[in-house]
């Protein structure tokens, strides 16, 4: 790992990519977190719906090699960090974010819930 670059690309804010369910925002006050306010369940993405175009990072795969070339531009380096379409495929699952609403929906549909919980919202995949 030594002498390698860890690139962090702060990319584009995306509607439809988990925006409404971001993980708790930390502030620069060490022990405080922000207000808890949300009441609207995220709409589920219907199965098979293509990802939003700005969610696919389609430039990324093509630019990976070029980004490492000497003198690569800032833009190329950005493109090399953005996830490839394959890496964004998990967003094709119509994940619900409101557990209580999902319980109601599961009861109506006669299906079990599949709950995936992580430290940090899985849609951010921290």
């Amino acid at each position: 790992m030594q002498r390698n670059w860890l690139l962090a690309c702060i990319a584009i804010g995306l509607a439809g990519c988990g925006r409404g369910d971001q993980r708790l925002a930390a502030t620069d006050r060490e022990t405080r977190s922000t207000t808890v306010v949300t009441s609207t369940p995220e709409p589920a993405r219907p199965p098979g719906t293509p990802l939003p175009s700005d969610c696919t990072g389609s430039q990324a795969a093509a630019d990976l090699a070029a980004a490492d070339a000497p003198g690569a531009t800032l833009e190329r380096r950005i493109a090399s960090v953005v996830p490839t379409p394959a890496e964004e495929k998990f967003l094709m699952v119509p994940w619900r974010t409101n557990v209580m609403a999902a319980r109601e929906e599961a009861q109506r549909a006669g299906r079990p819930l599949f709950l995936w919980i992580m430290v940090g919202n899985p849609q951010g995949c921290t």
Binding site: N4, L6, D21, A26, T27, T38, P94, M100, F114
Partner: protein
């Protein structure tokens, strides 16, 4: 994200289950009807793996199959698609064998806040990180992409639009919470006292009616010796230093700067290391 790249799993999640994602920060540490429901599920789930996680670090991370009434049909923290397929099969068998109790969920419980949400006048920026260039022999998580979100608060957006510099609190959050190694799992965030330098210079590169583009550079230096065991890796972080460059285009429409691309680059400190934990010596 190896698990949910699998087409078979995506199909099954979509057609046989109601898939839900959640954050332990919300359902474990914040009081809400959803967190009470979830913690009850953790208590009722019969799983050796979950019990071990919970005993050692109160960690409920993983995947659960549940009935709407909270009956649990299993837990896994495996990630290989084939294992998840088996987990789904077992869970569905359990679900079909039982007659879950019909539950009435109060509208107030459905509507109750369960997660932090940014004021709509703010902006959420997706943050990605990778190891570049990737060593040829790198494998596993080293090949992955780190994901996070950066929130920009409404007052900071206002400051970006009205002023010509990055708000200090935003710089502080970028440095402490986003210049971290999020590629290989949950990162360790920088403590305030570990930040030796965090300053930003900003240049307005263009100004048109209703829009302004800023280029900014952040100089940073963080150091602190910490050691953390993460799974089968031990991470020793000693420091990062370097510069971040970025461009931001903001317009007078609140929240619209979230649509601009930004970049930051961090040079990993040369003393930073990440290596597998040596297995226990059993030779005698």
């Amino acid at each position: 994200m190896v698990t949910f790249k699998d087409d078979g799993l995506i199909r099954r999640l979509t057609s046989e289950f109601i898939p839900v994602v959640a954050n332990t920060q919300d359902l474990q540490w914040h009081e809400s009807p959803a967190s009470r429901f979830f913690l009850g599920v953790v208590e009722r789930t019969d799983s050796e793996t979950l019990s071990r996680q919970w005993r050692s670090s109160r960690d409920p991370q993983g995947m659960y199959i549940l009935a709407p009434d909270g009956t649990s049909f299993g837990f896994t923290n495996d990630h290989e698609p084939v294992d998840i397929q088996r987990f789904m099969d077992r869970g569905l068998r359990g679900y079909r064998k039982t007659q879950p109790t019909q539950v009435v969920i109060a509208d107030a419980d459905v509507a109750a806040p369960w997660s932090a949400r940014l004021d709509p006048a703010g902006a959420v920026i997706r943050v990605f990180s990778r190891i570049r260039p990737l060593p040829v022999d790198a494998g596993g998580l080293n090949r992955g992409v780190g994901r996070d979100f950066l929130w920009i608060y409404p007052e900071e957006i206002k400051a970006l639009i009205e002023g010509d510099s990055l708000p200090p609190a935003l710089v502080a959050r970028i440095v402490r919470f986003h210049l971290v190694d999020g590629v290989r799992g949950t990162p360790t965030l920088w403590r305030p006292r570990e930040v030796r330098r965090a300053d930003a210079t900003t240049v307005v590169t263009s100004r048109t009616p209703g829009a302004k583009t800023l280029a900014f550079t952040i100089g940073f230096s963080m150091s602190g010796k910490r050691q953390a065991a993460l799974g089968d890796h031990e991470v020793v972080t000693q420091g990062y230093r370097g510069g971040s460059r970025a461009r931001s285009r903001s317009t007078s429409r609140p929240g619209s700067c979230a649509r601009s691309a930004r970049l930051q680059m961090a040079r990993r400190g040369e003393k930073g290391t990440s290596h597998p934990i040596r297995p226990p010596d059993t030779s005698g």
